[in-house]
Symmetry: C2
Subunit: 360 residues, 2 copies
């Protein structure tokens, strides 16, 4: 048997792709009726889960991400514990910044920090070129392992969208107001264009690699794009998001996600994605009406509700399902990642509630 350099078989496993195609999650992506509403949780493998914390006691965050066996173990453990309808590969949206050699590290609490941020046109020259197949092959390897371990479950690959990647590269970490990012965008539009074009290319290649390795769908995280005015989004971001999605269009479905995007929904839909991921700050039905009939939607429980006890969780899960009213094309999820303080049992209960209440 041929083996990839990491020792992982590079042949696709013997999953029954016909049955996988009929999985409720992939049906929802095509807006086809399914026997129940599929559900997964952003950051479903994370600090709220004791199994994950135990892994993290033995391994650093980047060590977990870059070791295919460990990343696959984290991915699979979360899925088995939660009973969700999809696995999402354990990784981080900033992994493509490693080969750029900007000095990425993760501080205590997993917050990213970039030692040498990009602040001006001149800084662009020192960004090392990125070939995901050469430098991020460990993600492809993790995908192959998970594919083999979970042959019957849709597997989600993912990447950060160009704007969100740019914001970390420019700010050097998390930001509240994206001051340096907007400054470069407004004051050096040519440099901005070059940076975004490069990031879109890398993202497209990275997603294509994940699909080739066996991802059944992908999620594009434009987590912080909600900081932008709609007109700025259209001028400075939308073409690059579209380019980032180009490599996988027509091959696998894409979920296009951001937070604080209630003013950007129509523009995000134009940028692409078979599914638009919504945060909790919009009414799901009103948002879907604005998005139109040609897309599916994912969302949108406030992650804080998982800290509010079973009764409130049940009330809010029911309210969201009521708003959807059985319309095909809904993937249930939180509006952003699971919070570290979330009781695991309540996350499991939430998944069960979605399945029970939506069964048709």
């Amino acid at each position: 048997m041929s083996r990839a350099k990491s020792g992982v078989p590079d042949r696709l496993p013997t999953a029954d792709s016909a049955s996988l195609r009929d999985h409720p999650l992939l049906k929802a992506c095509r807006r086809e009726a399914a026997p129940y509403t599929p559900v997964w949780l952003m950051r479903q493998a994370g600090r709220y889960m004791p199994e994950y914390r135990a892994m993290r006691e033995r391994h650093g965050f980047l060590a977990l991400c870059t070791n295919p066996e460990l990343a696959a173990e984290v991915t699979v453990t979360a899925v088995r514990r939660l009973g969700v309808d999809a696995a999402i590969i354990f990784a981080d949206i900033l992994l493509p910044l490693i080969p750029m050699k900007v000095g990425l590290s993760y501080e205590a609490g997993d917050g990213p920090a970039i030692e040498r941020p990009i602040r001006a046109a001149a800084d662009l020259a020192r960004l090392a070129p990125v070939d995901p197949a050469a430098s991020l092959g460990f993600v492809a390897d993790s995908i192959r392992i998970v594919r083999r371990e979970l042959p019957d479950l849709p597997l989600i690959g993912f990447a950060g969208a160009p704007f969100t990647l740019a914001s970390y590269l420019i700010e050097g970490g998390a930001s509240r107001d994206f001051r340096h990012t907007k400054s470069l965008m407004y004051r050096e539009p040519t440099a901005w264009e070059r940076l975004m074009t490069a990031l879109a290319r890398i993202t497209a290649d990275y997603l294509a690699m994940q699909v080739a390795a066996g991802a059944d769908l992908i999620q594009l995280f434009d987590s912080w794009v909600g900081a932008l005015a709609p007109a700025d989004y259209r001028s400075f971001v939308m073409p690059h998001t579209r380019a980032a999605l180009a490599s996988i269009r027509g091959r696998v479905p894409a979920i296009h996600f951001g937070t604080g995007t209630a003013g950007l929904l129509e523009a995000m839909r134009e940028a692409g994605g078979e599914v638009i991921g919504l945060d909790w700050r919009v009414d799901l039905r009103a948002a879907w009406e604005r998005l139109g009939p040609e897309v599916a939607v994912q969302g949108n429980l406030d992650p804080m509700v998982l800290l509010a006890g079973r009764e409130e969780i049940r009330r809010q899960v029911r309210a969201i399902l009521d708003r959807v009213a059985g319309r095909p094309g809904h993937i249930f999820n939180l509006g952003h990642g699971v919070l570290p303080e979330t009781p695991v049992d309540d996350a499991i209960a939430m998944v069960e509630m979605v399945h029970e209440m939506s069964r048709r």
Copy 2:
């Protein structure tokens, strides 16, 4: 002449109220055509202005707020420097927390901190009752001074809305995810209701006092309400916002403002306000269409644009005015407060641009 206890005349000044009524800003509140688009800036008296920094070198933040002569001086200086169409009384949305005796202070950088936050039903008992006329009379006195100094300019009074006040009281300061606030809201709905009812009462009394002292319109700041899901806003917040506005309804116009509210616009309109204040994350025209023809709008330049140089400022001011297309009922403003790094000359230039480009 009768004098209030602070030494300020308590009689209204001899402003020509007929001409003030025809001021473009008050016409905009009534959606009447005006010769140009009126403009003011949230936090127009603030750290970006050298005159303000000089005042702050001599006086603490709360000292400035609570001394009517000083607060009036800060208010008037900013207006004269900028050439804006309204004065807004120099104060802070958290001033009503002083008589509640929760230990409010302002740390370096003016970020508020509350020593004894409210975290549970039991904590409500120790909130001291608030009579704004007795404990916040200095704001009324500042209003009387500014009214006299600027008889021809609309004067804006303001208050924090119940949700935003509650969020500070509960979190103990600024917050990113409003965890404790949502926890109380979900887990102790009866305590939440009591707290919000009390805050709405205080806000209503405080606004009524400001109008009695001479404020021509008010702005209700629900700055952080955008953290909520629309259904939660309607259940837990909207009735209290409506109650907060009840005391001044039909007496003076109200601007109802929040940030991150692109998913809440219809609900905020239902809660009240002749003008809805928009942040920059929505397209102004699309937002106004959703709000309907019965309200005016205020906004919505990204404050970061004022750091981007004259050319970009001009482009973006023009883009917003183009979206409005001369429709009566638009007050130009930033989408949130002026940033401390804003060049004063560029803020002045922005005000002039709005006047020039909109002149009919």
